[in-house]
Amino acid sequence: MNIEVDHLEWGIPGKTIVRDVTLRIRSGETVGLIGPNGSGKSSLLRCIAGLRKPTSGVIRYDGQDIQGWNSRQIAQQAAFVEQSADSDSDLRVADVVALGRTPFRSPWKALDRTDQIVIDAALERLELTELRSREWKTLSGGERQRAHIARALAQQPWCILLDEPTNHLDIKHQLALMDLLATTDQTILVALHDLSLAARYCDRLVLMSGGTVIADGTPGEVLTAERLRNVFDVEAHITSDPLGNLTISYSRPGVTIATPGPTG
């Protein structure tokens, strides 16, 4: 599924949070959304997921304007993974993953065999099969995050929108998740803080600042030392290996990267 965003604006009374964003995501692409805190990444994701009504602008799924779609129609196309959504309830892991079947269930029907197969596969994909009967409150942060991603996969979505999904994950599961997102042919838009991870796994990066897109392109095009200085206010050193993988190293605040060795 390809996604088109045209001149999107969204805000709360008195403050525009997303301003004039235009974006094209091709079917099957894995796009990383990067930018400092408060740059509008989460809001943009929520607009594209149909959770916020844009004040102006258009969002199209496969060329169709989603304005006027109900949430069920949207949920049958796109899954959304919030940043650490928590619950008080005693739901089990399998119950949480089963929520992903909601867009396809009629209110009168219990989970059927198809639902069960999909749920089992989603649990297996996120290595949660062993944990399927564990209650939510007994899970670690990382296990909860994986359960949410499995829930999104159980939605069999054409597109997955994720907000900081690698938070709480240990490095093994971070890499496993990014690998999953990079290899699937579902369309992926993922907000990330870790620029190295974003650079390594995403086909394209979209850099946001102040609610608008200021760079859009391959990791190599977007991530330059000058941009990182302007946008993130950090000194970064970026190197590229022969395979095109980027390595980003940062200097400590007040420490200039060009100067080797410790300084006073």
């Binding site: 049958q76 619950s87 269930r105 197969i117 939605q155 069999q156």
Partner: protein, 367 residues
């Protein structure tokens, strides 16, 4: 295929139209290990047994044979009818009272389960959130100020009061979110406000008898239960359950907040409006017929979650049945504990409810 032989390709959207293979493994058992239909049937049998047993309990003792003769007479069987007044004791008073207790219990427990899901707060309950107080104020205003006549307008007043108090609660919570303690404290404030308005309306009436009757009723009493209240309650409770039931899956989706719910295809706004409207109506009918009976909606759904888990397809019908059983027995206790006098049932639900409420708070680490 994964290492364990699970076909992962089903996760792809193109697999949606695939028909499932025939050789599926059986679904994993429910957490209690007992199939849900068996549990439901067991609880239904328990409810029927409770109703039957409870009909025999009261300050005036009723025997199985007497009950048999009363029911036999009603069914046109060739039995010797009981003398008129004794027949009336059982058929006009005891039977409708027990049935009304079951219906109100079911209704309040259902309201509690729904409110807890919609507000994402385990401490939500029509009584604790002040909805019962609002309904009381509405009903009292209708009775005292003589706004219209008959039980329908009392229910109407109770409904208006319930909606008003819930609206006020939501207004007060608009900015602060729906955190557990905050929602309870705000509910207490709303309840106090409406209690004060009720007192004001009562004082304005200046009629000692009306005041006495209202005070008794405010405690939650089943003493005035008659068939007309039972019929109104049956209609509203069944209708309420029918409206709520299709939202069971949606209520599960509310577990992780409104954004996740919405991303799962749930129309959050409509769901909230419909469910809050239905709970306000159920509470209003319960309050109009027996007054403000507290704590049923709070503790019953918690107890049921221990038994069958938090999924609403199962939780809702179980809560309704368990709430019915709970109030049937509490009212039986209220009838005989201090015989020959009867205690308002609301006093007993509070006596049982307060310690359980503390237990819940402690378990949640809030106290």
């Amino acid at each position: 295929m994964s290492a364990s032989g699970v076909d992962l390709s089903v996760l792809h959207p193109t697999a949606r139209d695939r028909t499932p293979p025939a050789d599926l493994p059986p679904a994993p058992p429910d957490r209690s290990g007992t199939p849900v239909p068996v549990l439901l049937l067991a609880e239904l049998v328990l409810l029927i047994a409770s109703v039957a047993a409870s009909v025999l309990i009261g300050t005036s003792e009723v025997g199985v044979a007497d009950l048999g003769r009363v029911l036999g007479t009603r069914l046109g069987l060739p039995v010797e009818p009981l003398p008129g007044l004794l027949d009336s004791l059982i058929w006009d008073l005891r039977v409708p009272r027990v049935l009304l207790a079951a219906l109100v219990g079911a209704s309040l427990a259902l309201c509690g389960a729904v409110l807890q899901a919609v507000t994402r707060n385990g401490l939500a309950d029509p009584y604790l959130l002040g909805i019962s107080s609002g309904a009381s104020t509405g009903a009292v205003a209708v009775v005292v100020l003589g706004l219209g006549a008959g039980s329908f307008s009392v229910t109407g007043g109770a409904f208006a009061g319930a909606l008003l108090s819930f609206g006020l609660l939501m207004l007060l919570l608009r900015r602060s979110g729906l955190g557990s303690m905050r929602i309870v404290l705000t509910g207490v404030i709303v309840a106090e406000l409406f209690a004060a308005i009720t007192a004001l309306v009562m004082i304005a009436s200046g009629d000692a008898d009306t005041t006495r009757a209202i005070l008794h009723w405010l405690l939650g009493s089943m003493a005035s239960a008659r068939w007309d209240a039972v019929i109104a309650s049956v209609v509203v409770t069944v209708a309420g359950l029918c409206v709520i039931w299709p939202y069971a899956t949606a209520l599960d989706g509310f577990s992780f907040g409104t954004d996740t719910a919405s991303s799962l295809g749930i129309d959050v706004r409509t769901t909230r409006i419909v469910l809050l409207g239905v709970t306000a109506l159920l509470t209003a009918v319960a309050v109009a017929s027996v007054g403000a009976v507290g704590f049923v909606g709070l503790i019953v759904p918690h107890g049921v979650r221990f038994l069958v888990g938090p999924l609403h397809r199962v939780l809702l019908p179980f809560s309704a049945l368990a709430g019915a059983i709970f109030l049937v027995w509490t009212d039986a206790l209220a009838r005989v504990t201090f015989a020959p006098q009867e205690v308002p049932v609301g006093v007993f639900t509070a006596l049982l409810g307060v310690p359980l409420f503390l237990l819940i708070l402690r378990k949640r680490g809030e106290l």
